[in-house]
């Protein structure tokens, strides 16, 4: 499956699984952008067919409740919009 790419400073591998309608996912995206980080994201609700299944499996691997936003920073998984944890993981 393809991720959307947002350019910025390289702070390690950052992947965000989000929903296009979710306000907390938007907050998370805005925070990553404000911090100037490079990241990949996918709007899982807009994916179809196999891409959607693959994305859901990937989210469940990190977060069995399959809730959003699920943010992967390196090997750390942050579920929900947790500003402090996200900043810590990015060493801001």
């Amino acid at each position: 499956m393809n991720f959307e790419h947002v350019d910025g400073k390289d702070k390690g591998k950052i992947t965000l699984y989000a929903l296009s309608t979710c306000i907390w996912c938007k907050e998370t995206k805005d925070l990553l952008s404000d911090l100037g980080a490079k990241y990949d994201y996918a709007y899982v609700d807009l994916l179809k067919g196999n891409d959607r299944e693959v994305a859901i499996e990937q989210v469940k691997h990190y977060n069995p409740s399959c809730s959003f936003p699920t943010l992967i920073i390196g090997d750390k998984c942050i579920v929900g919009y947790k500003e402090k944890e996200i900043k810590e993981a990015l060493k801001v």
Binding site: L19, S20, T21, C22, I23, W24, C25, K26, V44, D45, L46, I56, P64, S65, C66, S67, F68, V79, G80, Y81, K82
Partner: protein, 171 residues
Amino acid sequence: MNEQEMPNDAEVINFIERLEKEARQGGYDLNQNKEFTRGLAKGLLINERRYGYLSCPCRLAVNEREKDLDIICPCYYRDPDLAEYGACYCALYVSRDIARGQKELSPVPERRIPFEKRTKLDLTGADISGSIKLSVPVWRCLVCGYLCGRDTPPELCPICKASKDRFERFL
């Protein structure tokens, strides 16, 4: 996202007015952060167009009403989340303290059990039928807890307007 899914500003404003009125009547408070509430209301309207029902904007719907019944707004988890965290999962509804700015909003963890892991008991209360005799069954609104004794549940919950299919047989 295609254009058809995008509600215009007037629709969003009308919808928020309706939500505010219903919240007030039911003794609930909407999030007072206008931009935030507008974002949530827009997400709900997009989901209504997409799925045919007001699925929670912060949860992934499967596009089958029966499987998404619990996350149609207001969801089955709103009241327990308000009691425990002062906000529902998406934070459209908040406690009075938070609405008045006396308390900070904090993230609400997901309490919903994934569909494939739910058991019958999670969906419909304990089965004590057989141990008591009732002239009519008792139905419970899964959104607000309203109980009524009649042959079938009402078309709409008279308290919170939840639809008939969101009632469970309680007794």
